[in-house]
Amino acid sequence: MKYILMTGGRKAEWDAFAAWPKNDVQAYAAFVNSLNRELTESGELVAAVGLAGPGQAKAVRAAQDGTPITDGVFPEAKEFLAGYWIVDVENPARAYEIAARASAAPGPGGVPMHNPIEVRQIMSGPPVEFL
């Protein structure tokens, strides 16, 4: 079963992250690297992706003629995806266990963040009746 584990936050939270002391950022990056290595070794990691900051995000819509309109505005409360893991696991409980590991990533001062991780199953394809 494939699950996507997503982490992110509002723009203010991203800005706070940018103000972390360098050694805290390094400890966080080392934690993520080691989690990724472990999930690679267990054969469960399908993909791990990090995204550029929300300042670069564009809200795009098609105009009537199909050309892109790129001046869309995101709501103030919008949560921006920071990154995600896709894991292929035996059961949902294992996906939650991995999400809890990611949730306990070290924050400022090395204190576990306990931030929420959104866990969603990935569909293998559209329902048969749609085809």
Partner: protein, 132 residues
Amino acid sequence: MKYMLMMQGCTKANFETFNAWQKKDLQAHIAFMKNFCKSLGESGELLSAEGLDAPGQAVAVRAGKDGRPVTDGVFPESKEFLMGYWIVDVKSPERAYEIAAQASAAPGPGGVPMNMLIEVRQVASGPPEEWS
């Protein structure tokens, strides 16, 4: 340059409206998406594409004090759920926006283009150098 194109902006309530679509409208929407993926595959720009399960199945997980998963987290009512995404490798941001506009115009009820919002974000190739 790698970009992630996200089909965003669906609250739980919005998602319910899909259930009211007529079968042929759903089929046209899916056929469009399959074609769209196929043409991006042929142009060599598609790196990956995934569809996610319904927002009703989403679980908010936190680590408890002991590191065990706490799965009874609640999403805010207004939360916009990711429906699916494409990751493309393109020459320029403009090309990413062009592809996003194509996805945005996917057919909705009655075959009318939905012109839905697509969030376009660059994918980081790795952590910034100062992190390591």
